[in-house]
Amino acid sequence: MKVAIAGAGVVGAAIFNKLSQLDIEVIIIEKNTSIASETTMANSAIIHSGYDPKPGTLKAKLNRQGNLMYPTICKNLDIKYNQSGSLTLAFSDEQFRELDKLIEKAKINNVSVKKLSKADVLTMVPKINPEVKGALFAPTAGVTYPFEVATAFIENGIDNGGLLYLDTHIMNIQEMGKKFAIETDKGNFLVDLVINATGVNASIFKSMWKKPDFNITPAKGEYFVIDNDIEITDKVLFPMPDKETKGALLIPMVSGNYLVGPNRVKTTLGDKATTQSGLDYVWASVNKIIEVPRRSIIRSFTGLRASTECGDFIIKFDDENKHWMDVVGIDSPGLASAPAIAEYVAQLMKKEFAIATKKNIIKTRQGIVPIKGKPVDEINTLIKKDPRYGNIICKCEEVSEAEIVQAIHSSVPATTVKAIKNRVRPGMGRCQGGFCQPKIIEIIARELNIPIYDVLDSNRGTNIVKRGDE
């Protein structure tokens, strides 16, 4: 059996990882020059505890299950994970009473939470706005780095025999009896199962074959990134949603930065623009909870959520053809649910197809070792192996040349300035690549043995250095 997963976001990556452990052929096709460069790269990075989804939904089931899987996955696949919990904060007596409803929901969803008094909250988050009345503490909530999660899933999947096709555009899809023919600009594939994990593009993608029975309505979320040279809290802070708005979050990222956001604005596909009103809203919203210094902002960005009208994940074979599976409408808590989604997909497949488990599965994966924060003796061991560990390219994030070279030559290659930034962080810091980007361009050209003119910022056509006649 041969399976093609379309879309190498975190959901596609998790499915790829799971299916690579089965005795089948699996490929994953990504149109961008890098994996995980859309919704996966622009979300809240939270592994939600799972108390919040509507009980009885796929979201409720898979979020809790995914949350329980993350600690082991992150340990096995060398992914940073901070499970320091989340607080849902009440700022009025009414909100404080409303917390009981959330506790009820948590009970039904089988997620352990605790109601905190004002004093408890002040102890846990000393910098919180002292107007706080109390909070709901979800100790199993955590934060990870979604790009690294997707990378680790795919690298490990490749180790187990899966194949990644990057920068590969699917031009046409044809139903051929019990198979699908996938025509791409990098060659054609004949597969027994197509898994549609194309996120915000899911209905467009399916339209290549037939009229989709779902409709993706992208919802924009805007964020600020806060510098990692200040400390605010180690807890994810949620405001209590009120009737009008859900409010924005403060998220302590595994990199030491904070995210402020998101809002939620319905939009059209492809709209990744931040807006003044959106940014003003998230900033004001978070600063009602806790003070964030304006001068520590280093970036703002927008992510698109692949929402559907039904509000729940849609994970099922096509109603008429079991050789096509849709894994769509994966908005929040999609990241938290991703590994459980993959399990669920595998279960659905096993019911329909005779599939055996592979022998000798490689269960662990080693990420690129960063030099940042390492003690002197460990650094010297690294430098003995590769002196390029001694050459710091990104000053803000202390990223060495060795890490960048490893990212370029990884089995999930990061070959553009943006992909390298997402993978090993040069350019993520407060100077936003002003000092290191020129060096990275030259390293990419050298390592790939391509002219400097062919080095890309992100996708095709984003050549940074122009030729004289351009």
Partner: protein, 419 residues
Amino acid sequence: MTNYDLIIIGGGPAGMAAATEAKAVGIKKILLIEQEKMLGGILRQCIHNGFGIKTFNEELTGPAFAQEYINIVSELDMDILTKTTVLNISDNRVLTLLNTDGAKQVKTKALIIANGCRERTRGAISTPGTRPANVYTAGHAQYLINTLGYKIGKRAFVLGSGDIGLIMARRLAWEGVEVLGIAELMPYSAGLKRNIVQCADDFNIPLYLSHTVKEIYGNDNLERITLVQVDENLKEIPGTEKDFEVDLLLYSVGLIPNNTIFKKLGIELSDITNGPIVNELMQTSKEWIFTCGNTLHVHDIVDMVVDESKNAAHGVAKYLRHSDKNIQRAKVSGANGIRYVVPQKVAISEIDNNIEFFMRSGKVFGNCHIVVTADGHKIAQFKRSFILPAEMEKVTIPKLLLIDDIKEIVIEVVEGEHE
């Protein structure tokens, strides 16, 4: 572990001037550390001239100025490490250094941090819109064009009329790039007068005062920007939007001292300069750590950096001779138009012959005086035909005008003829 009397972090003009002066005043064992492959700092990419009129009595290009200092420093008996990063500074005065030979620790009696500044980015000021390629800070583009010789666009716009913005607008024009305009949020330019004339006016590049970039368009590559006029409160005026199709956008919207190193050390910072608070020795709140140059506060003229860095070397020499922790210091501050003064504290008894105060105004003044008062009494005034926020001012006060137990020195601008 090697022991030094003085380690200097940063081999730009501040670090090199401090090193040279430190040697001149007799500090023996010195280490100068530079992260890049050669000394010189950001001057190496500033290929325009106008550097060093005071220091070397001639107008040099940035690289030529840097080379003059590199020549001086190379003749001196001191250790120089290039391509070396300082990974950590610990309270027991041990620095962890990293280069391709490995990581090692060195000990020092005193440290001068002269690691410059960075540019405020599009991200920091949160211009709305998409996040395409080809949006750069001016210095970043300057490095790509001047140092590496790359072509990075054909039709450009510059946001911010600071010196680097103005100079890069001219540089792009020289390179055959069509520069559609320079926008400035404030009603006045943030650059030196000579740069407005020589860079914008002489090249017919329109300067849009009281304008900013409202939105950026283009998914992968920059395609277009919308410019908008702002009112006196810097609020956008609806209906004044203009679109420009460009494939290159440069930000020259301010420089920020590289202050993370100080934050990590718990050194007291100024909310106004974003750099450390220092005394007349250029000493920070950690007695063994001194600072000078753009990491202390952002300069516009390299000669002033040199003066200030020499002061830091003198400060270290004094500190190494004797250190009096309980010395009384007068508080120095700016008022009426003077945004800040460096140093912010001064021990009158420690001054040799005179003291230099560096300062910046918050607005434009014409025909005025810089007036210095000590505990409410005017002690000196300096006539100026104009004062601009873009141009740092320096005044030198002879010690004989100051008495030892002064509590507060205030420096302010007084407009008009003044006695």
